[in-house]
Subunit: 277 residues, 2 copies
């Protein structure tokens, strides 16, 4: 298999991709984004790069013989005024800044486009590793009940609408009421906010209620920034008193699947994939 | 003029309506919602009522000779399990609960409908007092610049879309990016969240950027829950580092207008009304 250039942001996904490539005997070269990539990735062939050192990235990938590349892991929206671009990064900056003003999705598209202009071919994380996304139905032992299933459907519908406006990927719905919507604060802060809401908004009689849904933005290129959950998402949802998490089958990335299932089963949450419309 | 039955929630709006009625020599009778209504309202003819004491409300309004009523002031979504309804409130509860499950707007519509079924006629706060809503153009001395005006347009557009999903009325946009969306946490908590976001997201070069927009939900009955701002909204927006506030001309209620203008001018924020589409 062709060598993969992995551009690694924060979280467990990049390492998971490296392990999957090892298992498949696919060679990998890692561009470790400074301050974001998991330190464990320094054991892999690769280099540390700043977010705007595009000249360094392009030449490192070429020297390593990578044409296929994959973006994986979280990258918070940068403070463009404090970026330290190299010459090649500087040349792209006006186009990147113009895109950034249109929203997160436009920004990511422009970054991908700049790499493609240099001859690189972008693979989605879910095509590098198969079986990384959620399937159709419950992931663990617990399945949503009827009332929860209505919240699942509504939460996914609202998430897709918000995504089409390039606002965010995540939303929490309980008993038909939208409790919280993710924008720039991210999923964890949104879940913390839900934990602070009155209990009555997150219950159905004596039982808990509330579903976190994460959905692909209908406008986004699915090769970058797929909606993602990991064990810590399950824990944060449990702290918020929610009963489950939902995503679109084939589009929600599950990082550290075994621990996700174990954590969800232990904490009594469902994690469910629903066919996208 | 016909006597007005004022159902008073939190904030300065109910008192402002009382003062306007006094000036117009219109008699008022106040149902002071327990734990919410401004204590200053106890000087007015009226009674204290719990949120679900509808029998008490209906008979008090009738005894006072009120047919016209007006809902004004904030009412947080209640914990229905802890409400203490009287017999009449209990009779309405199944219908109110069913509506509450569909969203805030459905809930408010049902409450209005229950009062109308009893023969009361609901007036909007903006028809009781004219000149309470924002007009077309800047309210104070400061007007939005060109780049800010683009944020104003986008923020209002996004707010209307969120409103059509019955999510919330408020949104913050900076440089074309949606920073935060209001759901059940309310406008103040959303603005606090913006204050916690990285500065770079709320600036344009060396200048500050970011606009709070509040818009009528396209689905809502405009006689209840009009989007509202007061002096404390201006202060919270300033703490969040925003440059201005926008609403739809004729639909955004300005509570304590003189202080709103003074505060905005002092803090350097614009407050602008834009014709609704």
């Amino acid at each position: 298999m062709e060598k993969l250039g992995l551009i690694a942001g924060a979280g467990g996904l990049p390492l998971e991709i490296v392990r999957a490539c090892e298992a498949a005997e696919r060679p990998v070269f890692v561009l470790r984004l400074l301050g974001l990539a998991d330190p464990a990735l320094t054991e892999q062939p690769g280099v540390d790069v700043g977010l705007a050192e595009w000249g360094k990235m392009f030449s490192a990938l070429r020297r390593a013989g990578c044409r296929q590349i994959c973006f994986a892991g979280g990258v918070p929206r940068p403070d463009f005024a404090n970026l330290k671009p190299d010459l090649r990064g500087l040349a792209s900056m006006p186009r990147v800044l113009a895109a950034a003003r249109k929203g997160d999705d436009a920004l990511l598209r422009q970054v991908m486009h700049e790499f493609e202009q240099e001859g690189f071919v972008v693979e989605g994380a879910d095509t590098v590793i198969t079986g990384l996304t959620i399937g159709d139905g419950p992931l663990g032992r617990i399945a949503p009940g009827e009332a929860d299933a209505a919240d699942v459907d509504q939460a996914l519908r609202v998430a897709r609408t918000l995504g089409s406006l390039d606002i965010g990927q995540a939303v929490v719905v309980a008993n038909g009421l939208v409790l919280a919507v993710e924008a720039q604060e991210g999923t964890d802060a949104m879940l913390q906010r839900c934990a602070d809401l009155p209990r009555a908004l997150r219950s159905r009689g004596a039982r808990a209620a509330g579903v976190l849904a994460k959905a692909l933005k209908p406008i986004q290129d699915r090769r970058i920034d797929l909606p993602t959950i990991g064990p810590e998402t399950i824990e944060a949802a449990a702290r918020a008193g929610l009963v489950g998490i939902a995503g679109e089958a084939g589009s929600l990335l599950i990082v550290d699947r075994d621990r996700v299932i174990q954590t969800a089963d232990d904490l009594g949450l469902f994690v469910v994939g629903v066919p996208s419309p």
